[in-house]
């Protein structure tokens, strides 16, 4: 089975992200594979093992995004492809989905796996848009994946409970954390990844033009700094502390 894992590179969660002259800056914080996408790679590798398949990791981004792909290779992906083009510098989710859908069709896949959202934009709609564009069924927020010949069954983790959904392959699946802890890159994996030549595809390699940006940013804002002085509540007994704390909370008028 041919599996594609779609990943993105984002600034690390610890990064102090700021608006700097209308641009987003994260200082010298490292760029990492989107944490949600580590689950996508993990889910893809589980299916590779279950079906004796292959995993191709793909990523849209600048040259530096090869590092995120190398992480996927080190985890055990078989190959990686970077899609990079100066014309993609202003791209919304639909644009990303159009580019990914073209790449998926060019590579060919039985299963396409995404993380549920990215840490930066956080919209979480690219998987469903990619599914719509490819015409593949969308199985969102999967906590487990089971393939049986040409069909796939996933357990969706929803607010209301768990839903078992079945579809024919090829399918687009987004995964959540319940899929399993992403494996650590092995020593051999890291060696292999460091030597890997990652091909770079441009829009002309995909035979498409730059997608129109539908969502345009007008302004960036830094949220107002929060007053975070903590008031410690102390007392002689748990009952006394609880009494004081309850009064403090009631006085905040949030109940």
């Amino acid at each position: 089975m041919k599996i594609i894992a779609c990943i993105k590179q984002v600034p690390d969660s610890e990064a102090k992200v700021k608006a700097d002259g209308g641009q987003i800056s994260w200082g010298d914080a490292p760029l990492v594979i989107n944490p949600f996408d580590e689950y996508a790679v993990e889910g893809a590798l589980q299916q590779k093992e279950a079906t004796n398949g292959t995993v191709t990791a793909i990523c849209i981004g600048p040259e530096t995004a090869k590092e995120a792909l190398k992480h996927a290779l080190a985890m055990g992906a078989d190959e990686a492809i970077l899609i990079s083009d100066p014309a993609l510098s202003n791209m919304d989710t639909l644009g990303a989905a159009k580019v990914l859908a073209s790449a998926i069709q060019k590579i060919g896949a039985d299963m396409v796996i995404f993380g549920r959202q990215t840490l930066d934009n956080g919209a979480g709609i690219t998987p469903a848009q990619t599914a719509r564009l490819t015409g593949y069924p969308m199985l969102g927020l999967a906590g487990s994946i089971k393939v049986n010949e040409r069909s796939v069954t996933v357990e969706r983790v929803l607010e209301e409970g768990k839903q078992i959904v079945k579809a024919n392959l090829p399918a687009v699946i987004s995964v959540v954390q319940s899929i399993g802890e992403p494996r650590y890159p092995s020593f051999m994996g890291i060696r292999k990844a460091s030597k890997a030549e990652i091909p770079v595809w441009s829009l002309s390699d995909l035979g498409i033009s730059a997608p129109t940006e539908m969502i345009k940013r007008d302004e960036l804002m830094t949220p107002p700094a929060r007053e975070t002085t903590v008031e410690m509540i102390t007392g002689e007994s748990p009952a006394e502390i609880a009494e004081k704390l309850a009064d403090k909370i009631i006085a905040e008028k949030v109940l």
Partner: protein, 337 residues
């Protein structure tokens, strides 16, 4: 100005933020509610009471279960006929998919998880958090119709006018299903952290009650989970007395203490309730990004150096197994419950 409002419900239970979306639509002009699936007629009645001018209902058997493809095709067809300026959704797992797919059909795009939305001539300016709410951006959608999902509790909920009614128009399901629902298991209680105004959470610390003796015959891991369940029972009691939802840290979920649907934080739910009480949660950055926009944060932890205190308004250094039940009792008394 005409706005379609997608009312999201699961087996007839409406996501309350759907009504908030109706309120926003009314601000701009005509609000046309759209309800799909089973029990759509009951939901339609409520939609009028929350201010819908008109309701379109598709309760076709093809829409009995939520499936993104058929729901999206039905919505896209309706939008093509009604030609609205704006389509609004509450932000839920379903609407993210549905809106995403409909936007592909209608050649527009979706602005997700909005905390603000203003009309600007024929268009709209939306405010949304990015980078885990470290930044906010103002965006506009150049496609037509403009599509947007609204963050729960970010907009006021309109008053319900009992008995208000109007015209319900039936529409047919469109599109082809690409998957089938084979089964469903409900959570013990639906976990709706996004809409909760109060969240009481537990972390790894809830399993550390030394005074408890697990039943005989449990191995070490089972004993730990048993202990944690006793701890979460205290957290749940406090949540109940406050009318809140139960949250958890990732450490508690990973340790198997509580299902993933309760998880607050980077890879779980990002929430902004009025009150967040963190019990036995140390406050890793991945948890903090999920709850630091709560209005009032209370931290109860035995470790005075726990980073959670840096984010808190009120803190107690102490044994949660003593403090939490005492707090539950104090609220019972003070709130007359």
């Amino acid at each position: 100005m005409k706005t379609l409002v997608y009312i999201d419900h699961f087996k007839g239970a409406v996501q309350p933020s759907s009504w908030e979306a109706l309120g926003v639509a009314k601000k701009f002009g005509d609000a046309v509610a759209v309800v799909f699936g089973e029990n759509a007629n009951d939901v339609a009645k409520s939609a009028f009471e929350y201010g819908a001018d008109e309701v379109f209902v598709a309760d076709d058997s093809a829409l009995k279960d939520y499936l993104p493809e058929t729901y999206a095709s039905t919505l896209s067809a309706l939008a093509s006929t009604l030609n609205p300026n704006l389509i609004l959704f509450p932000t839920t797992a379903r609407t993210r998919e549905l809106a995403a797919m409909s936007a592909v059909d209608l050649n527009t795009n979706v602005m997700t998880d909005l905390t603000g939305l203003e009309a600007n001539g024929d268009s709209f300016v939306a405010t949304r958090p990015i980078y885990e709410a470290k930044l906010f951006e103002k965006v506009n959608c150049v496609g037509k119709p403009v599509m947007a999902t609204l963050r729960g509790r970010a907009f006021p909920k309109p008053n319900q006018e009992a008995g208000k009614s109007g015209t319900i128009t039936k529409v047919d399901a469109k599109g082809e299903a690409k998957s089938t629902v084979e089964g469903y298991s409900a959570s013990e209680s639906a976990v709706n952290l996004g809409d909760a105004s109060i969240i009481v959470s537990g972390g790894r610390g809830v399993s550390n009650n030394p005074s408890l003796t697990p039943p005989a015959g449990l191995d070490e891991k089972q004993s730990e989970i048993w202990r944690a369940q006793q701890g979460f029972a205290l957290v749940t009691d406090l949540a109940k007395v406050l009318g809140g939802a139960v949250g958890a840290s990732r450490a508690a979920v990973d340790a198997g203490y509580i299902p993933y649907s309760h998880q607050v934080g980077q890879t779980g739910k990002v929430v902004a309730p009025d009150l967040y009480i963190a019990n036995g949660i140390s406050g890793a950055i991945q948890h903090l990004v999920g709850m630091r926009n709560a209005k009032v944060i209370v931290a109860i932890n035995k470790d005075a150096d726990a980073p959670i205190f840096k984010a808190a308004r009120f803190g107690v250094v102490g044994d949660l197994f003593e403090i939490v039940p005492a707090l539950t009792e104090a609220f019972k008394k003070k709130l007359g419950k």
